[in-house]
């Protein structure tokens, strides 16, 4: 085992290397490219005996990944943002093939307007594809999650591809201390892939992903995929516990930080959740009984675990780093449906949207969200969802609109 400073991208590459991958279909996109470059460098140097092929698009890349996985080899790939969306048709298709592989997505806000910095609308667009989803908050988790993802996806009870998500810039380009496990320890945890009957031999032709007519057969296959995804809830716990034995690091399906005696909870996903952790510490110093719940596993959705974590709490501050236009925060919606009708005394959920396109969330904003939620609990009524957005930021937009001369006359008349 060695401990060194690695970026999230470096950690993802190390995860793939330790997993003993055979094949990497690739296509470059910021901020993911460094993962592929690192793997290519190792392949060139003879350190890993894998094959890397650059395809002409993410659509082809996902197709190649699924096709290769269907032949029974261990496949890794990575993409981001617009790339993930460009491959979207095939994401849904290959998940239906039931061919497991690991795809690292480096979250980045979606166009339009186009940007480079992260939020989670890209990975959430793949929410219903059949891919399992693990969301990371640290560089260490990126490495660990890639390894866990192979065991999880390849498990005979599951057999689904997995997306491991990390935030662009905040993890992808940020170095943190990361423990790199020894190859031997990982080989015991993650033995070579046993594809069972999923393989391709010249002497034994198979037809993958056949067409069906009529809703009956179609429903069967689709619902089986759903059931497989639900199986992953229990399998995840097993795999994470074995990983903890091998590495000493716990990666539970939901992280519960200082939640036991908490009256209030932050709930959020991804790298910004470590900021919430910091805010929990600060708020506790100021006398608050508050904690953080962070779903690491998002598909399947660990509904029961979340329900238990939220049980008996007064107020829950849900911070969504995404937005479903015309509805609001995706995590908020999912949490609400998880507790609706299933909890005796459900806590008050207060919805905040923040961190879109990498927009920072300051310590003071965390404190203020807690204060607003406490007030709402006293009133017994959740306020309207709030976008974390300040007067200064709107002033900046006005400046940009001014520079762009957007119908200058109209602006001046109306604003």
């Amino acid at each position: 085992m060695s401990r060194k400073l690695l970026t999230g991208n470096g950690a993802a590459a190390w995860g793939a290397r330790l997993a003993g991958i055979d094949y990497i279909p690739a296509f470059p996109i910021t901020p993911q490219t460094e993962i592929i470059e690192t793997l290519e460098h190792w392949i060139g140097g003879g350190q890993i005996p894998a094959r890397l092929v650059t395809l002409e698009s993410e659509h082809s890349m996902i197709t190649a990944a699924g096709a290769a996985a269907a032949t029974g080899v261990r496949v890794f790939s990575a993409t981001s943002s617009q790339g993930l969306l460009y491959g979207m048709e095939m994401l849904y298709a290959v998940a239906g093939w039931r061919a497991p592989f690991v795809l690292v997505n480096v979250s980045r806000g979606l166009s339009a307007p186009i940007t480079l910095e992260p939020d989670h609308n890209d990975v959430l667009a793949a929410r219903d594809s059949g891919f399992l989803q693990l969301h990371c908050a640290t560089c260490q988790e990126v490495l660990d999650s890639v390894l866990i993802a192979y065991r999880l996806g390849e498990d005979l009870r599951v057999r689904l591809p997995v997306i491991v998500n990390q935030d662009g810039f905040y993890l992808s380009f940020t170095r943190e201390p990361v423990e790199i496990p020894d190859q031997q320890a990982i080989e015991a945890f993650l033995p070579p892939y046993d594809p069972e009957n999923m393989q391709f031999r010249a002497s034994a032709p198979v037809s993958q992903a056949v067409a069906v007519l009529g809703g009956g057969p179609y429903s069967y296959f689709r619902y089986e995929t759903h059931l497989a995804s639900l199986q992953a809830l229990a399998v995840y716990d097993e795999v994470a516990s074995e990983f903890e034995k091998a590495s000493g690091r716990a990666n539970p399906a939901i992280e519960c930080y200082r939640t036991d005696d908490a009256e209030y909870l932050f709930v959020m996903m991804g790298a910004f959740a470590t900021k919430a952790r910091q805010a929990v510490n600060q708020l506790r110093e100021a006398g608050w009984r508050i904690g953080l719940v962070r779903p690491r596993l998002f598909r399947p959705f660990p509904e029961e675990k979340l329900r238990r974590a939220l049980a008996g709490k007064k107020g829950v501050i849900v911070i969504d780093q995404n937005i479903s236009f015309g509805r609001g925060g995706v995590l908020h919606t999912e949490l609400a449906s998880a507790i609706l009708g299933k909890s005796e005394k459900p806590p008050l959920l207060v919805s905040f949207i923040g961190g879109l396109g990498g927009r920072d969330i300051s310590a003071e904003e965390f404190y203020e969200m807690a204060r607003v939620t406490k007030e709402a609990v006293v009133d017994g009524k959740a306020p309207e969802p709030r976008l974390l957005y300040t007067e200064t930021e709107l002033r900046e937009v006005r400046k940009l609109q001014g520079i762009a001369c957007v119908e200058r006359q109209a602006l001046e008349n109306e604003l």
Binding site: A112, P113, E176, K275, W288, G358, A363, Y367, A404, E407
Partner: protein, 309 residues
């Protein structure tokens, strides 16, 4: 926890500087987070990088709002809005500038009260992008200013970070880092670890309700033509192409059509002219000019000459 920000231009080694300092902290037993923040991802464009280092695990992320130490490797960035050099400076922030001016001069210009230190920028260097080791010098200076990093660990950090690079380059980095370290000897340990705002007493964020605005205003569309004229991208330039009309053969099509920004216009006599408000200084015209009539001069020299005349 220490919160340190490096500002420079693409090519001056700011990402490396943050990694050298981060690795040195790490070797001294600190928890570390270091990261570059690219803007335009281009040589000469403003870039910043940051380092957090503390004795316990770090949960903070992203941009540093209130730095303990700000290091500016290129003083021409101070007035560039995109560089954000002055962002979040407090009375306890130490500002270290590589400059030909004095600390007092910067204090007067910027009207700031916190400590200002300088590293002498070489006057004889024409293009500041040639200062490829200024990052190492800044990292060395920062290491000394924290008071927690020995020269030995700094050197080990450099050897680790630059592994695989030619010996000459590694040696030069060590030399420059050491020089930066020594220059700060009188101020060793000057930079103090900052604290987080308390959750008991804090200034609440000035949140607003986002107003609804009609699509003709709120779509990200530039309706008026030629608005980019208002963005003076010429400010990015570090080297200025200057046409020597005595040697110009007026083969105008060559230079004007190869300018990626369309910043070369041609007058009625067929002579090309450069729009310096928008020339980014890529020097493509310099390289394509068949009669070698366009030369490149450092921007700061050209600006000084302009002021004199």
């Amino acid at each position: 926890m220490y919160r340190i920000r490096f500002h420079g231009r693409g090519g001056q080694g700011m990402k490396t500087a943050s990694r050298l300092l981060g690795a040195a902290f790490f070797l001294e037993g600190f928890a570390v987070q270091d990261a570059p923040r690219y803007g335009a991802e281009r040589r000469g464009a403003p870039i910043f990088a940051y380092v957090r280092a503390g004795k316990s695990p770090i949960f903070e992320r992203g941009i540093i709002l209130h730095p303990d130490l700000v290091i500016v490797a290129d003083d021409s960035l101070v007035p560039v809005p995109a560089a954000g050099v002055m962002a979040g400076l407090t009375d306890r922030t130490v500002l270290l500038i590589s400059t030909t001016e004095t600390a007092d001069e910067w204090r007067r210009r910027l009207h700031i009260h916190s400590a200002i230190l300088t590293l002498p920028a070489p006057r004889e260097v024409e293009d500041r992008l040639e200062l490829r080791y200024v990052g190492a010098e800044c990292a060395g200076a920062a290491a000394c200013l924290t008071g927690h990093i020995s020269k030995k660990k700094l050197e080990r950090a450099i050897l680790g970070e630059l592994e695989g690079k030619p010996q000459k380059i590694i040696h030069r980095n060590i030399e420059m880092a050491s020089e930066g370290y020594d220059r700060m000897a009188d101020h060793k340990g000057l930079v103090q670890e900052g604290t987080l705002p308390s959750a008991k007493a804090y200034t609440p964020p000035a949140w607003i309700e986002m107003p609804f605005e009609a699509a003709r205003i709120s779509s990200p569309t530039i309706h008026a033509g030629l608005t980019s004229i208002k963005v003076r991208t010429g400010l990015w330039r570090t080297m200025r192409p200057v046409i020597d009309h005595r040697h110009c053969r007026k083969c105008w099509w060559v230079c004007s059509s190869s300018c990626p920004d369309g910043a070369i216009s041609v007058n009625e006599e067929g002579a090309p002219g450069i729009d310096y408000d928008h020339c980014k200084g890529c020097l493509t015209c310099v390289s394509v000019c068949p009669s070698h009539a366009i030369k490149a001069i450092p921007e700061h020299q050209a600006a000084a000459a302009e002021e004199e005349s």
